[in-house]
């Protein structure tokens, strides 16, 4: 049956969506004003920073709205074969400016060649993007390790599918912390206090998006890095040659 999640279709859910939609405009104004100042030759580096922050916030709002749209259509979403490595590479490219600004090094690490996974492409991209924002914000506030702060977008084969996610070179998140975060979010200002100063909303937006694809985020490890990842089902029809 197509599930109509109450949280999105009830009065409160609809009100929140309307408010979020409204919030995009002022952020857009800020981002484009900052961009114009930068394009006009302003040497104030703050404008670049404001532009980036406002654009990042816009994307987060947009990804949240996407998660509500996908949740309301669950059961009739258009899934397609998606190359995980292509998505991770694309996301890394989009996150690179933010990572640079936050003095983090971004890496893409795909251990092996994998068949495409069955997913909603836009939803998967939005999920990894949202997760990336949180991890960059989190890692940038943590001490350097061997002179670096590394964010790794990684994928490897797990027991039940392809595991893809965002990992860091610090012990950022534990199973207990993540479990507690789910019961805390919406009730406290800091759901992931051990990870990030803010609400960490990007994690929950990512989780909502992945849930529409019948998967969830969980704490995972990728070559001694720890982070959050989702297991995705490989496509049985296609395989990379």
């Amino acid at each position: 049956m197509v599930q109509q999640d109450e949280q999105y279709t009830g009065v409160d859910g609809r009100l929140l969506q309307a408010v979020v939609e409204n919030m995009k405009l002022p952020l857009l104004q800020v981002a484009r004003q900052a961009e114009l100042a930068r394009m006009s030759g302003s040497t104030d580096t703050n404008f670049s920073s404001i532009e980036l922050t406002a654009d990042t916030a816009l994307r987060l709002l947009d990804n949240y709205l996407l998660s509500t749209r996908l949740a309301s259509r669950r059961g009739s979403l258009e899934f397609e074969p998606v190359s995980v490595s292509a998505v991770l590479t694309d996301i890394a490219h989009q996150l690179s400016k933010l990572a640079d600004q936050q003095q983090c090094e971004l890496q893409v690490n795909i251990s092996g060649r994998y068949e495409p996974v069955i997913a909603h492409r836009a939803g998967l991209e939005a999920a990894l993007m949202s997760l990336g924002y949180v991890f960059i914000e989190a890692r940038s506030a943590q001490p350097v390790t061997s002179g670096k702060r590394i964010i790794r977008l990684g994928a490897h084969r797990g027991r039940s599918g392809i595991v893809a996610g965002i990992f860091t070179d610090s012990d950022s998140i534990s199973n207990d912390m993540y479990k507690r975060a789910h019961s805390l979010y919406g009730h406290t200002r800091q759901s992931l206090p051990g990870l990030v100063a803010g609400s960490g909303a990007g994690v929950f937006v990512a989780d909502s998006l992945l849930e529409t694809m019948s998967t969830r985020l969980r704490v995972a490890h990728h070559q001694k890095f720890s982070g959050l990842a989702a297991t995705l089902n490989p496509s049985k029809q296609l395989s990379l040659v």
Binding site: L25, Q29, R32, Q33, S40, L58
Partner: protein, 131 residues
């Protein structure tokens, strides 16, 4: 100098887009409603239209159909620059060709630079350039 008709209901965004286009050498008429845009096009035929779909009173779809109903305006290139997600029913990409839409920019992810590049591309393929 190429003349652009900008149909954008928000004052601040309108000023931003206008300024960035003018800095790039275009002249711009900024209208906030569909009727004003029709009037403006009547007074000063544009070389390109930039159109937001979410407008009050008469929405951008109405403007689009009205605009294209005038023979002398049928071939004027038009770019959508909108809050509306393009795949969501309204103006899905299959309709673009029929309504002669040259491109669709989703505002939350469209930088000024992207827009300017798109404007330049459309106008130069149409034979009109900024000074």
């Amino acid at each position: 100098m190429a003349h652009i008709l900008l149909v954008e209901p928000d004052i601040s965004l309108g000023k931003l887009y206008t300024l960035s286009l003018e800095l790039s050498g275009y002249s711009v008429s900024h209208c906030r409603t569909a009727q004003d845009a029709i009037t403006s096009a009547d007074e000063n035929i544009p070389d390109l239209v930039l159109l937001e779909i979410e407008i009050a009173i008469h929405n951008g779809i109405e403007f689009l159909y009205e605009f294209r109903s005038y023979p002398e305006w049928q071939d004027i290139p038009l770019l959508i620059v909108s809050h509306v997600v393009p795949s969501r029913g309204a103006l899905n990409p299959k309709s673009w060709g029929l309504l002669k839409i040259s491109g669709y920019h989703y505002k939350p992810i469209t930088k000024l630079q992207d827009l300017l590049s798109s404007v330049e591309r459309v106008l130069s393929s149409d034979g009109v350039k900024a000074l």
